[in-house]
């Protein structure tokens, strides 16, 4: 090493110049509650259980999402549709209990991919943080989309042509 390298001072000054230049750079901080980061249109956030056009639950409690889930976050209890409940559930079977443990969920979207009924989708909404674990096991009361047609959650962005093509097969088989 030369003398200048040995006394380290030029190197130190160089380093200080670099850090000094960072003082005036644009800060990367996003002040979260006031400013929200721009989300992708197909962001994978909190799930929604879709209703069909008549407001009936699409889910038929087949359990394919639970099987597909790599984090084993989904549990459900199936129930048979009683006569007179046709306006509530589209299929003959429905999920009486449908729970996603948001602490386990990794938001991979495999449940959405597996669903043959187009019933579960991931949305742009974020899962809030809580102080108690119990509060993060989301049941149907949170996941199911509102009945009011004006308050439906738009998931059309997630149904890209590729996705629809992928699901076409399943549609014909089950979704009559």
């Amino acid at each position: 090493m030369s003398f200048l390298e040995k006394i380290y001072l030029p190197a130190i000054l160089q380093g200080m110049a670099i850090t000094f230049s960072h003082l005036f750079r644009k800060k990367t901080t996003v002040k979260y509650p006031e400013v929200k980061r721009e989300f992708s249109e197909i962001y994978r956030g909190k799930h929604v259980l879709k209703r069909d056009d008549e407001g009936r639950e699409r889910c038929t409690a087949c359990g394919l999402c639970a099987v597909a889930c790599p984090a084993e976050a989904i549990t459900m209890v199936a129930e048979e549709r009683k006569p007179g409940e046709e306006h509530l559930y589209r299929e003959e079977r429905y999920a009486r209990i449908y729970e996603i443990d948001m602490l386990r969920c990794i938001f991979c979207g495999m449940c959405e991919e597996a669903c043959p009924k187009e019933a579960i989708f991931l949305t742009k909404e974020l899962v809030p943080s809580e102080y108690q674990r119990d509060l993060l096991i989301f049941g149907k009361d949170i996941l199911l989309e509102p009945y009011d047609p004006n308050k439906r959650i738009d998931i059309s962005k997630r149904q890209t042509p590729e996705v629809l093509e992928f699901k076409k097969d399943q549609k014909h088989k089950h979704n009559k």
């Binding site: 200080m16 850090t19 000094f20």
Partner: protein
């Protein structure tokens, strides 16, 4: 007498407030250097953050280890705080001010051995850390304290040697005298660049600031000498570090950067009191710059290894300081 009391209280308050806000500035700077914003929630630009930190420290549980030596455990942080505040007494904060025709110096004590006093007080500082580390009865605390004391003792030597050259030049140990000789831009830094560099490096080591923050070295020693401390006792240790920073900035500015002097000081034609205030502000500006330098270095350089630290202190800085003394002596002799 009353004047001295008021001045001393004023300096105490100023150094406490400055230390309080340097914690905020440190965190802000850390943020800026890393392209973040730093604390910004408490008050506008996070201005109430130090207050919030202080309140938090006061209300934290006061924990004392079962096997700790109670008296020494409390003595440690108290001593550190006391010593950090003591040094400010001999620093000339500005030119004399004129009240009712009498001149009052902006200096609590103009003792003729000012520099010696500073070094004497600073070297007691090691006791605060050593006692705290020993009394905690914890291996990390003890190791941190041992590191701190050996580091501070080693670097004190080079520090004193670098000052000897300045004292030789000015022929006085009084801080006021040394400042008075640095009229205008006739600062000691132009005559003692090497001495300044050595003094600066040693100041970093003496205040236990990065890159010499081995005593608290969180990656190896948990928290170093204050591992077992909590609540306001911990607050005192952390606070004392910032007061030390402020004071060492003041000492550097006084010894090497002309204290309250600035170029064209006597061509402005201001009254004496205006000059005193301006002088104080200029000194404060210089101290602020050194405070910034301390932070700037901290967020630039990684920590030294312990053998590197000792090697630098004993094998590089002390010989260089002795060389500096010799060269200064020869030049003074030749100029006579």
């Amino acid at each position: 007498m009353i004047y001295k009391f008021i001045l001393a209280s004023l300096i105490l308050i100023i150094s406490l407030v400055v230390a309080m806000y340097s914690t905020l500035i440190e965190r802000k700077m850390a943020g800026f250097f890393q392209d973040r914003l730093g604390p910004s929630r408490a008050g506008p630009w996070g201005l109430l953050q130090p207050l919030a930190d202080g309140i938090k420290l006061f209300f934290k549980e006061e924990f004392m280890p079962h096997s700790a030596d109670r008296f020494l455990y409390i003595l440690g942080p108290s001593l550190t705080m006391l010593i950090a505040l003591l040094t400010s007494a001999v620093i000339p904060w500005g030119p004399n001010i004129l009240i009712d025709g009498t001149e009052y110096p902006l200096q609590v004590a103009d003792i003729n051995i000012g520099i010696l006093y500073v070094f004497a007080v600073v070297s007691i500082g090691v006791y605060g850390i050593m006692i705290g580390g020993w009394a905690s009865n914890n291996k990390y605390a003890l190791l941190g304290a041992v590191r701190a004391s050996s580091q501070m003792i080693s670097y004190e030597l080079a520090m004193s040697l670098s000052i000897i050259a300045v004292v030789m030049m000015s022929g006085s140990l009084s801080m006021k005298e040394i400042v008075a000789q640095q009229q205008g831009i006739n600062w000691n830094i132009w005559y003692q660049p090497l001495g300044f560099l050595i003094f600066l490096i040693c100041a970093f080591a003496e205040t236990n600031r990065s890159p010499f923050d081995l005593p608290e070295c969180e990656t190896e020693l948990v928290g170093g000498y204050h591992t077992e401390y909590s609540s306001m006792k911990l607050g005192f240790y952390l606070f004392a570090e910032y007061i030390n920073m402020f004071i060492s900035g003041a000492v550097i500015a006084t010894l090497f950067f002309g204290g309250y002097h600035f170029p064209f000081i006597d061509q402005l034609g201001l009254s004496q009191n205006a000059m005193a205030i301006l002088g104080f502000l200029v000194l404060f500006l210089k101290i602020t710059f050194f405070g910034f330098l301390f932070m700037w270095i901290r967020w630039t350089l990684p920590r030294f290894r312990y053998d590197q630290l000792m090697g630098m202190g004993w094998k590089k800085l002390i010989p260089l300081a002795i060389l500096n003394v010799l060269v200064t002596g020869v030049v003074i002799l030749l100029n006579q």
